[in-house]
Symmetry: C2
Subunit: 233 residues, 2 copies
DNA sequence: TGACAAATCAAACATCTGTTTGAAACTGGC
DNA sequence: GCCAGTTTCAAACAGATGTTTGATTTGTCA
């Protein structure tokens, strides 16, 4: 059943077909999603037998889970989300975050696999979403909220930070989630994936303008309403 | 095969089960998507025989197509996208557009069916997307671009109008496409569908602040480049 | 009522799916 | 060269799915 290696006799055809399965599966899952991907298709592309997936990974879900984890890891390694960079201005930190995020989900260098798989996972979650949120999405979320706090001021209510963060992320993910519609609406426009810098520039400008407004608004309101204020929800 | 009625003898059980199938199918398609919906499940909920779908609609795809068209029609009837309303200020027109759009895709009154089905259709298009774009999405897109033009000025390049429009729509659809992640990230926050007004208010404020910035930016740039120039509202 | 077409139904069909199985091929160490 | 353990393979299995079929019921009109 499950392969058990001798401590010192590990044939490498094992690792080879295992890797072939992983990359073939990443392509297939990105193209058609977990439920509509067939093990037969994956194995055909990996030039492996139908039984290979079950032999190497146990079952289809486990294979998917590994693919998801690897894609996420690769995307984050290739485009790190600008971990706390105190030397940058808050504005520049947000711009960096936006650029990295866009690249992760749209970069043709990764065949946009990560973004496509994530989009499917959000619209139609499998059991793998919980782990993904825990290990990958939440850290990014915390990072973004932190940037928001430096931009909007430490007194900003968490609900406002969340709303603004979602406004930023929503703009980014739109290009990932709605590509079929965008292509049909504006067929004459160049593909979004080839204009990542342009998109990042726009989203950064748009968001920072809005946030600067929010800041003045919020501080004005706080000053007017209450002497001191801390946390709600 | 296809039912052919006598010109004047239309049994109404026909229309009844047809309607039952349509509403049951809308629920199922919204819950699990086209490909993962089973005819047996739909028929069970509609208290009809397995063969009913093929008898009344031809096949599963045709049923789906009709469901999609009806959901779209209902959502648009119930929450019209504020057709050109010259008595409103441009700002107010945008706010109205945002509110309608949010209600269409998230309103619990419609069980959020429309939004869920649309989200699936975008991430994993079936043959029905082309018609949907042609008949439903493109008109809304034109309407939004028009609002953008009045907000940013008639000289604004189309690419800028598009980018800003997508920034607005992206913010809205985020709550529709990423709900599973939002719930996991902020389980303590109330469900988005119960805060439609709050969301609309935020997105409107955020977007208008950004757009006002874009406008001054653009006019400043144009003023610098060109000799004569008028109006910017 | 009786006949006729529309509508429903249970059952079967053909196909595709993930998974299992038991044998064959391969590998490295003796 | 042989053997134990690992890996591959073709074939089969069990279940689900969309669709078809042929009989049966239902409703309507003459």
């Amino acid at each position: 059943m499950a392969p058990r290696h001798h401590p010192e006799a590990v044939p490498e055809s094992h690792a080879a077909t295992r890797q072939a399965l992983l990359t073939a599966a990443a392509d297939v899952f990105a193209e058609v999603g977990f439920r509509n991907a067939t093990i037969r298709d994956i194995c055909r592309r990996a030039k492996a037998n139908v039984a290979a997936v079950n032999y190497h990974f146990g079952d289809k879900a486990a294979l998917y889970s590994e693919v998801l984890a690897e894609q996420s890891r690769v995307a984050r390694e290739r485009f790190p989300a600008a971990l706390a960079a105190p030397e940058l201005s808050p504005d520049e930190q947000l711009r960096t975050f936006i650029r990295s995020f866009l690249q992760r989900v749209l970069s043709p260098e990764l065949h946009a696999r990560h973004g496509r798989i994530m989009a499917r996972e959000m619209v139609d979650p499998t059991g793998a979403l919980d782990r993904l949120v825990r290990e990958a999405i939440r850290p990014d979320s915390e990072r973004l909220l932190e940037i928001m706090r430096t931009l909007l001021g430490p007194e900003t209510p968490p609900a406002t930070l969340r709303l603004c963060g979602m406004s930023v992320v929503g703009q980014i993910l739109f290009y990932c989630h709605c590509q079929p519609v965008i292509q049909r609406l504006f067929p004459e426009a160049p593909a979004d994936a080839s204009r990542l810098d342009e998109l990042a520039e726009h989203i950064g400008r748009f968001s920072l303008a809005a946030l600067h407004h929010y800041r003045t608004d919020a501080t004005a309101k706080v000053r007017a309403n209450r002497p001191a204020r801390r946390r709600s929800t």
